[in-house]
Structure formats: C-alpha cells, structure tokens
Amino acid sequence: MFETLTERLDAALKKLTGRGKLSEADVDAGLREVRLALLEADVNYKVARDFVARIRQRAVGAEVLDSLTPGQQLIKVVRDELVELLGRERAPFTYAPSPPTVIILAGLQGSGKTTTAGKLALYVRREGHRPLLVSTDVRRPAAMEQLEVLAGSLSLPAFAPRGQEPVAIARQALDEARRVNADLILLDTAGRLQMDPELLAELAAMVAAVPAQHRLLVLDAMTGQEAVNVTTSFQQAVSLTGVILTKLDGDARGGAALSLRAVTHCPIQFVGVGEKLTDFEPFHPARMASRILGMGDVLTLIEKAQEQVDVGAAEKVEKRLREGQFTLTDFMEQLKQVKKMGPLEGIIGMLPGGGRLKELGGALPSDGQLRQMEAIILSMTPPERERPDIIDGSRRRRIARGSGTDVSQVNRLLKGFAQMQQLVKQMGKGRGNLGGLPIDPRQLIG
C-alpha cells in the first residue's frame, strides 16, 4: 500500500530526467507526492499544507533546480526540514536538582499510559534513580492492579490507594516517596478524552497540587488527524513538557509526531517499540523523519545489529561460507543471530521500502517457526549436523520425535538446507562479501 516516497518522487520526476533541469511546475508535481506521503502517514492536513509551502520556497531555489539529481535533492530538502521540525537533536531527559523528580503521564484512553509508566520506571532506574509508581486512575476497572503487577514485576514500589480522589493520591504520593526512599515519582493518570473539560480540570488540579518537572503526553503513534486537537487540549490544560509516542513497533508511519510537534513545540522524549518493558527508546528526530517519509530506519537497524549480533560468531560463519563449509551448526548460529534481532517483520520495517516488503508478512518465518527450526537441528547429533547425508529414515523419525515436529518438517528443513549449501558452495567459489547476512530461511519451513 505504501510505496516509498523516493520511488514515488522518482516516478513523478522521471519524465524530466532527459531535460536535466526542473521547472517550478515540475517541483509542484513532486511536492504533490510529498504531500500525499505526509497525508498517508497521518500528518495533520494543515500541518502538511504549511510544511509543503515551506519546502516549495526552498525547492524553487537554486539548491534543487540546478542540481543534477533534483529528485534526490528534493528529498534531502524535505528530510532536512522534517528533522528540523521534529526537533533536530534529541532532548535530554532531565531530573530535578533536589528530589523528588515528579513525572505525570497523561493521555487518551488506550494510548498506553500504564505500560509506559512501567517502561519509564525501568528506564530511570537504569539511570540510577529510585522510582515510585503511583496510580491515580480511579476510573478504569483494575487499572491500579495493573500498575501494581507491573511494579511487582520490576520489584519497584507502587502506590495505589483505593477509594481516594486522584488529586489526594498525588499529594500523598510525596509522603509515600519519602517513606520508601524514592527520589522519583511517576504518576499514572486515568485516560481521558481531550474534550472532557471536567477531567482536564482534574488533571490541571493534580499538576497544581504536585509540581511536576515533566508533564508528558502519551500518544499512540497511529493517531490520525486528531493528534493536533488532542495535543492542543492537553497543552492548554497542563502545559506539556514533552511527549512519549507509543506502539511504534507496528507499521504506523507516525505522522502524528509531526503534527504534535508543529502544535506544541515540546520535545518527543521517548518512543515505545514493543510489549516488553525494555522496548522503550529515546526519540531520534532523524530516524522519525525517514520513517514518516517511508524511507526506512537504517540507522536503528544498524545500531540494533551492532548491539545484538556477535561479531566474532558472524565472522566465523562468513569464513566457513567462503570456504564452502557451511553446515547445519553454522546455520543454527545464523538462526540465533536472527532471533536476537527481534521479530523479523520489525527488522524489515526498518529497511527502505520495508513498508511494502511487509506485505509479504506471511512469507517470513515467525519466531515460533524459527524456534521450530532450531529445535529440529538441536535434536540432531553433532555428526548429523556436520554431515546431514547420514540422516536416514530412522534418524529422521528420531529427530522429529525429539523436536516435537513430524518427519515431513524434518525433510523440508534438510531439503532446503541441501539447496542452500549448494548455493553457498557456488558463492564460495566465486567471491563476494557475504558479511554476517542471515541466509533467507524461508524455504526451510512450511
């Protein structure tokens, strides 16, 4: 559904390549594609309109029109402007000079406040702080239990007194923090619609009662055109200091980030990128810009690969590949590396054009399938892994039993591996930098 903006701009500007130079009309045709990309990414239509107008001013200047590669130049301008708007450098997260630091999380229902409270608590603890998790959500059934469970899983103190008013809970939290020797208070609040004046007033009262360094809006990255209205209302109620974007692990392009920046100018501090409490990262404007434009997030991918991939192991595999000595043991090593990087579709989403690749979704092995492949190989004896040709019918049955699969799955893996080995041998004879690239394991599963 989403093509990359680069592809679309190229298509729009293709007819011009022969002529070398772009006219203003050509730029407008290109900018139309930029605008559509922004709208598809859910950037607020007014924000998109103003943004494109600004780009146009720069684009009709010499910098783009006289360039030899105007399409790419135009993209560069767009991306630079986006980064500029998103905040250029990431804003550092600061703590109160004299404790406690108080953080209030606010947002719509279902934006992910409680989960985010847990993630942020873990983050600040890693920064050397002692957080107290406080729930003032007296509205949603079992919201307080949810926060207590989260705190318990992190072995952190929680404060969620039942039968009290939210503002009163916030006040008591200051004493509770002293009692449990916490230097940071994280206030989770009830979800509220931005047009509910009563609840917004309650939020304002809470901020008045407990001065908070950070008044953060928790916003779903998939939010549409309403992002502007939502942010404006919360901004007016409590004068936000920052934003946390959640659910960025999906395929949302996250145009809401641009909309809310345009309205509030307050920094996007963190992004939530998964269900686990560790799936929480500082916000990087440049990466977000690429994502909104559908250009992929190569930087995050590289970082992730560097973090997770064992370079030594990768080099060993590469050497064996070059020598044409690739065995099932090596293959399993590859599977482990792939698994460490997280769900494959998440990785593909970070690649340029990944939005479209993701349509292949079903063709990718799931974590479960990767585990299954690993189980099959682990059920083999070391000699079998080195020389799969010795695996006869009875060995196959034993391996299937041992791995909880059936013989046809074992067959499929062995057959696929044989083909892959063939391919590897051919590559080994020629040359080429195979790097630590995982071999496409798709043929091996069904």
């Binding site: 279902g110 939010t223 974590d367």
Partner: protein
C-alpha cells in the same frame, strides 16, 4: 444454511442517537462551522472544493478516498447536476450511503451457543466493548457469557471480571499467562452447561504486524471451530476512532489471520470522526457494525450509516 440467522435487534430507541449527536456536536463545533461555511457559499467554486478536501482529510477519510471523491464530485458538478454546495453535500451523502447500504450490518448470532470473537490492537477498547456488548445483548433478551482470553496484559482478567459484574454477565477466566484458546473452549462448554446462548471472547491486544500473535489468533479461531465449524459466528475488529490511516492496515492484517465479519469503532464521543472506515468498507468489504461513544455500559450501539454520514458531512 437451514436456519434463518437470528438478528440482534437495535436495543434502544432514538434517545441513544440523540446523545451520540450531542456528544459529536460538542466536539465538532469548529468542524461544523467549517461545513456551514461550505454550505453558505453560493456556487461550487474552487474554494468550495478546496474546503471540502480539508473537511474530508481532517475527518481521516484519507488522501486516496478524498481525491477520488472530489474527482467524482467535480465531474458531476460539470454535468450541471449540482448547482449549490448543499446539492453537492447531499449528493456526496447519497453516493457514500449507496455503497454502505449494500453491506449487511446485523450481528449473526445463530449457534448453540453463538461465538463472538473480539480482536484488535492494544488499547483499542476490546475489553470495554465486550462488556458493553454483553449488556446490549442482555437488553435484547440474550443470555451472554464472557471468555477472558486476554491472559497476557497485567490485570486484564481483573478488569474484565469487574466489567462482568457491572454487566451482570458471568466471566470464565483462567490464570494469567494461560492458553487463550483453552479459555475460549472452556467458556463454550460452560455456556452449554448453563444455557447461555452467546459467548463473547475477549482477546489480548496485539499489533497486526506481529506474525506470531496473528498465528495465535488463528489458533484461537481453530479451537472455537472445533466446537462448531460455523463458529465464531462473528469476528469483530475493534478500532479506535482516533487512529488514522493505519486502521486500514489493521483490518487487512487481522482479516488475513481470522475471518473478520465486522468492525466496532470506539471512542466516537471525542471529536474524531473515523473517516477511514469509508475506505476500509470499500476496499476491504468489512462492514462497521457497532459504535462506542463513552465509558458507561450502555454507550455501545449499532452503526447507522445514514446518521454517521450526517455527522461526518454536517448535514
């Protein structure tokens, strides 16, 4: 099929829709002012089309559908059928309505018991919807039962039990972390034993891009089909009205995993207008069946395309 499917009746009267309109109205003042300005224009000039484009885009109708709509409207205007903005907006409503009325929006609840599987991304409002639906069905003489198959999120089971008490509906639950398919299966057995005629299965929120979690959903559906190949009679995807074009991706991916029969759009009491359902219905052929407009138990009702379009277009 031999039995004619039973239809759940619209439980309440015009009072609910009036409330819906009221709530929409409070959030839409600026929006309606825009629209009335549109209507106030004497002719279908360029400014009218530009403003209409902004109106549709700001309602999350999406760039592609908005463009298609405007092209069509311009063509009609040129053939002189449409003279005023009022004509144009009424024409637009009828055009959308014609498409939308082709879809069957009733809930199919035949089955002993019928099973309704409720799916969606995190935070869309599944649990609340399940409780409200139990209440709505109870009002129309059904005997619902809830399966707490969200065994993943912390305290989700407690949340659903509390909602079950409010909706006076029994809740079948296992331990946190247990197998969701097993919960659904037990609930169906329990429904048979107790004479409940509808089982509502609440599932854990999952992003549609998670292949493994989509597989888990397939598995839950398979387990339900073991009890009755025609079940689940309804598979409802819950969409948050505030989400933009990504909702279409959600419906597509969930539809690939399970047999989606309808949509529930929640949080329509804000100013969000969820225009993305127009393109979802057209492109993916999944009808919107229910809308949620608030936090209390009776804030869920059947979707009425004509009234929805009136709200969307400010007619």
């Amino acid at each position: 099929m031999s039995d004619p499917p039973k239809r759940a009746e619209e439980a309440s009267s015009g009072g609910w829709w009036r409330r819906f309109a009221d709530r929409l109205a409070t959030g839409r003042k600026a929006y309606v002012a825009d629209l009335q300005e549109l209507l106030g224009r004497p002719a279908l000039d360029e400014q009218f089309f530009e403003d209409l484009e902004g109106t549709l885009l700001s309602a999350d109708v999406g760039a592609a559908t908005t463009e298609r709509t405007l092209r069509r409207l311009r063509a009609e205007a040129a053939s002189a059928h449409l003279r005023s903005p009022t004509d144009a907006l009424h024409y637009l409503k009828q055009a959308f309505l014609q498409e939308m009325q082709r879809m069957d929006r009733s809930l199919r609840l035949d089955g002993q018991p019928a099973v309704v599987l409720v799916v969606g991304v995190n935070g869309s409002g599944k649990t609340t919807t399940v409780a409200k639906l139990a209440h709505l069905l109870g009002q129309s003489g059904r005997r619902p039962l809830i399966a707490a198959a969200d065994t993943y999120r912390a305290a989700a089971i407690d949340q659903l039990k509390l909602w079950g008490e409010r909706a006076e509906t029994p809740v079948i639950a296992h331990q946190p972390g247990s197998d969701p398919g097993a919960v659904a299966y037990d609930a169906i057995q329990a429904a048979r034993a107790r004479g409940s005629d509808v089982v509502l299965v609440d599932t854990a929120g999952r992003l549609h891009t998670r292949v493994d979690l989509m597989d888990e959903l397939r598995k839950i559906q398979r387990v339900i089909q073991r009890h009755d190949p025609a079940a689940p009679q309804e598979v409802l995807a819950v969409l948050d009205a505030h989400i933009g074009q990504n909702s279409a991706q959600q419906v597509k991916h969930f539809g690939d995993a399970v047999r989606l029969t309808g949509l529930v759009v929640t949080k329509m009491d804000g100013s969000a207008r969820a225009g993305v359902v127009l393109s979802i219905e057209e492109d993916l052929q999944v009808p919107t069946k229910l809308v949620g407009i608030g936090e209390s138990l009776d804030d869920l009702n059947f979707f009425d395309p004509a009234r929805y379009l009136d709200a969307l277009l400010g007619l």
